[in-house]
């Protein structure tokens, strides 16, 4: 009895230690970035863990960041927010409609269209990177919000995820409404969407994060200051401010904030979605 008891408390100690060490490794780099962004320029690159906190807390890095005129920071944040939020909303709209139709409706050619959609999962972004540029260029979309929003909206994975969810809802879901004479689209709006909060949140936050964090596609397609995305301007700061790295850190800290906030708000759903994708 004694042996198992001490073993048990040993196990608790070990698990607690693992949890704390791994959590610290995960969070330290972010905390270090945030803390350092409040240090004076001369102190930023004098890393001294014994002096974890700034000797003097200063706003100068943030002031410089907001005064930056070549690549205006707040404008980039606004433009990115506009793109990421509208893309997330449009993306769940078109993908959930498709997922619902493939799951619940019968129409000729359904299997073929479903396969055509799903096949796009096999086509990696790297393969169509250059020719996608040619396509948007010939459509006259370069340097617009459209070029940032449109290409990533339809997602085979998202359609697949929604279809799976709608397939698993019981048949009785629409029967009563059908007898009452409601149209299929009306049923989708009034019965299915209200009962599908989880996939909407999971796919919506996923799209938001993908758009917010994207760098390569914006770097290829927009150069006009008005449309610059936040990751593009941070990359430019990284080249410009090597001697005032606090500014780069300040920009990065602010740019990392929206994804973290979105994650913390929808944490429960996101983790659940991830677990489902792991099992199924």
């Amino acid at each position: 009895m004694m042996k198992t008891k001490s073993r048990h408390s040993l196990a608790i100690g070990v698990f607690t230690a693992i949890a704390l060490v791994v959590s610290a490794i995960s969070l330290f780099p972010l905390v270090w970035m945030i803390i350092s962004s409040f240090k004076e320029a001369k102190e930023v690159l004098k890393a001294n863990p014994l002096r974890f906190f700034p000797t003097v807390w200063v706003r100068e890095n943030y002031v410089k960041l907001f005064e930056e005129t070549t690549y205006p920071f707040l404008q980039a944040m606004q433009s990115t927010a506009l793109v990421a939020v509208s893309a997330a909303l449009l993306s769940v709209t078109i993908n959930s409609m498709a997922g619902y139709a493939y799951a619940r409706l019968n129409f000729r050619g359904k299997t073929l269209l479903w396969r055509l959609s799903i096949f796009t999962m096999y086509i990696p972004g790297i393969t169509i990177l250059v020719t996608s540029f040619v396509v948007v260029n010939s459509m006259g979309l370069l340097d617009t919000y459209w070029v940032l929003i449109l290409p990533g909206l339809a997602s085979a994975y998202s359609i697949f995820f929604f279809r799976q969810f709608f397939l698993n809802m019981p048949m009785a879901t629409e029967e009563a409404a059908l007898i009452d004479g409601a149209t299929r689209f009306r049923i989708f709006l009034s019965v299915f969407i209200p009962n599908a909060k989880s996939p909407y949140v999971i796919m919506g936050t996923g799209a938001f994060l993908g758009y917010w964090n994207s760098f390569l596609w914006p770097a290829m397609t927009v150069t006009n200051t008005q449309y610059l995305q936040v990751m593009q301007v941070i990359r430019s700061y990284n080249n410009m401010y090597s001697n005032a790295y606090g500014v780069v850190l300040a920009g990065s800290a602010l740019a990392a904030l929206p994804p973290i906030i979105v994650f913390l708000i929808f944490q429960r759903h996101i983790v659940k979605g991830l677990m489902i994708s792991g099992i199924k």
Binding site: I18, A19, V22, S23, L27, P29, L30, M33, L45, A47, P49, A98, Y102, R104, L105, N106, F107, L113, L116, I118, T120, I123, P124, I126, T127, I128, L129, V130, T131, S132, F133, V134, V135, L150, G152, A154, A156, M171, T183, F188, W212, N213, L216, I234, R235, N238, Y245, L249, S252, P259, I260, V262, F263, I270, V271, L274, M275, G278, I279, K280
Partner: protein, 301 residues
């Protein structure tokens, strides 16, 4: 499928609604995936560039790409990244998932949140952070190095250290989501398996080897392949942290393709041929994952 043999009173209306609901996504996939794909397939057999008309050149682009020293270098580099990241990441996430299983509810919830935060951070921000941590002049790591009485290390000037730091950053970013997938896999193993083994007198090691590992096989494959396909397309981290240097030792295929695209010295047909070669590898791997998902599904239903 459950929709088969299902007769609804409004069948004809279904038809129209069905098309209307799938059309937006189909049009988008057609314009932004299929058109670029077919264009790539067609152009890869020509000497096409942005400035002049293209002529057919047969398989020459593919031959030239495969002979190109820089493209080969980028392939070797990315294989090193795969070798550095995948085994280590799989082992660490599996061990951590195991630890999560043993943690109390509150501790586990905290640890899950903590490890997941870096996974929502962009590659660009992660690069900035790790450039700062490993900075030559005043990075925290060089501070520790000097405390130990050694000279500062120029981390990004050494091919292996630079690769190592990029691999580390990538692992830091991916650790949370992969751990949770592993954890979900572990939680999915029926407790009755372990109970039955205990009745038969199995010890911890036997249970681990005979139950845990075999039950996790599909999760391991899923994680390994999605990690590999992701790593093969790595771009943001080496682009920002090293720009492919020192002497192209961290140049990845994605960067190679992007640089060709930017420089316009090469014909686009050539660049697209390189991109198609990457698709063969990545597409094969992802089709394997998808087949796995489908077989799992059909077992469920």
């Amino acid at each position: 499928m459950s929709t088969k043999g299902y007769h609804s009173p409004t069948r004809r209306m279904d038809l129209r609604t069905g098309y209307l609901m799938v059309i937006p996504s189909l049009v988008a996939l057609f314009i932004f995936v299929y058109v670029p794909l077919f264009m790539a397939l067609q152009k890869s057999f020509t000497n096409w560039n942005f400035y002049s008309a293209s002529e057919p050149v047969g398989f020459r682009n593919f031959e030239l790409v495969l002979q190109n020293q820089l493209f080969r270098k980028s392939i070797v580099n990315i294989l090193w990244f795969v070798l550095m990241i995948i085994p280590a990441q799989m082992l660490l996430t599996f061990l951590f998932a195991h630890a999560l299983k043993g943690m109390s509810k509150h501790l586990g919830a905290f640890a899950k949140t903590a490890v997941y935060v870096p996974t929502v951070i962009s590659g660009i921000v992660a690069s900035v952070i790790f450039l700062f941590i490993f900075n030559y002049q005043g990075g925290i790591i060089n501070y520790l190095v000097r405390q130990m009485g050694m000279k500062r290390i120029a981390f990004f000037a050494d091919p292996w250290l630079a690769r190592g730091i990029i691999a580390l950053t990538s692992m830091w970013m991916g650790f949370g989501s992969l751990s949770l997938i592993m954890y979900a896999g572990l939680m999915n193993i029926p407790v009755s398996y372990y109970e039955a083994a205990e009745v038969d007198g199995a010890n911890t090691r036997q249970k681990f080897l005979r139950i845990t590992i075999p039950s996790m096989k599909n999760v391991f494959i899923l994680v390994a392949i999605s990690l590999t396909t992701g790593t093969l397309q790595m771009f943001d981290l080496p682009y920002l942290m090293t720009g492919g240097n020192p002497v192209n030792n961290t140049l990845t295929p994605m960067m190679y393709i992007y640089n060709n695209f930017k420089s316009a010295d090469y014909s686009m047909g050539y660049t697209v041929a390189a991109a198609l070669l990457m698709m063969i590898v990545i597409g094969t791997l992802s089709s394997f994952v998808f087949r796995l998902i489908r077989s799992e599904k059909s077992q469920d239903e």
